[in-house]
């Protein structure tokens, strides 16, 4: 049984009377929100600048649609570089690179909207399912159970799974920042200095 089939089977058990098309529609919403909230799906797109011509480059990911620019690096040493992306997918470099330079642009992605409503499912990396399957189940039940006037409407169920869903979003957000390294953030700001206080009177 593949992951989506299992997810739908679990959802059918929890959500009495839910139709498959509605479940599929909400699976897209869950995966889309998960990516938008966490930046967990990232891809590094590599390209060579065209010497002396332009500062704007269109980035095309392998899968999904671009949300945000995470990093820009340049050259063999992958030295940090500067760049912006006012329009998702359109990388603007600070200047015209001469000579030609190899650029690494890391972007965050969201799943592409299925082409045909209800019949297609969004494509996300396979490792998503292994790592976050329970979170997707929580998100799906939350979104279905919180719909009004359905046989499967349940404020209690929505509340329970909503808490778990928000918790999972926080974990995934941290995973993205720490690049999935366990205990990656060992240092924290000391509590004795946590409050912003000023001893200097400014007149």
């Amino acid at each position: 049984m593949d992951h989506v089939t299992r997810l739908m089977a679990n959802a059918r058990i929890a959500l009495t009377g839910a139709v498959d098309d509605a479940i599929k529609l909400n699976i897209f919403k869950v995966l889309d929100e998960f990516c938008r909230e966490t930046n967990i799906w990232q891809e590094t797109i590599e390209f060579d600048t065209i010497a002396g011509t332009d500062i704007v480059y269109d980035l095309v990911p392998t899968l999904g649609t671009i949300l945000r620019l995470i990093w820009v690096r340049q050259g063999d040493a992958k030295a940090p570089a500067w760049g912006t992306m006012e329009i998702p997918g359109e990388l603007i470099l600070p200047n015209i690179y001469t000579p030609q330079t190899h650029i690494y642009a890391t972007v965050s992605l969201a799943p592409t909207d299925p082409t045909e409503v209800g019949t297609d499912l969004p494509v996300v990396p396979d490792w998503f399912w292994h790592r976050y399957f329970p979170a997707f189940e929580d998100g799906l039940i939350l979104k279905m159970a919180s719909q009004p006037e359905k046989p499967y409407t349940s404020a209690g169920l929505a509340n329970f799974h909503g808490q778990r869903w928000r918790q999972a979003l926080g974990v995934a957000r941290a995973d993205a920042i720490k690049a999935n390294v366990a205990d990656g953030q060992l240092w924290r700001f000391p509590t004795f200095a946590a409050q912003r206080t000023s001893t200097t009177q400014v007149n």
Binding site: T16, G17, V19, D21, A22, L25, V117, G118, T119, E149, K150, P151
Partner: protein, 125 residues
Amino acid sequence: MASALTTVAEYVTAARILLQDTYGPNYRYPSLDIVQALNLGLIRARQLRADLFILTDGVVPFFAEETDQPVPFDVMYREGLLNFIVGQIQLRDDEDTTDARSAAMKNAFITQLSVGAGQDIGAEG
């Protein structure tokens, strides 16, 4: 004849069983009226459950006659739609018992679609 309520004709046949109107060709309730009740039921279902019409982009199917045309309606809710058809048809009869039965069947349809799947005519009527 047993059926899974997949076509317009199957809905008409199943409705006639509950209406005790199975001896043709001179039926008490014309086939076209039952088809019209089916159309009204689908419109009501669209109001109650838009998610049942995702595949048709929210468009409610309309049927002009009793045919073997498939009715695109989720299998879980076909019995509810049949209850609506029978209830709608019986609205024309003005006996007190039929009025109550008509209301019970239409309420059962609404309950099955919007609140719970376990509601029965016997429990309400």
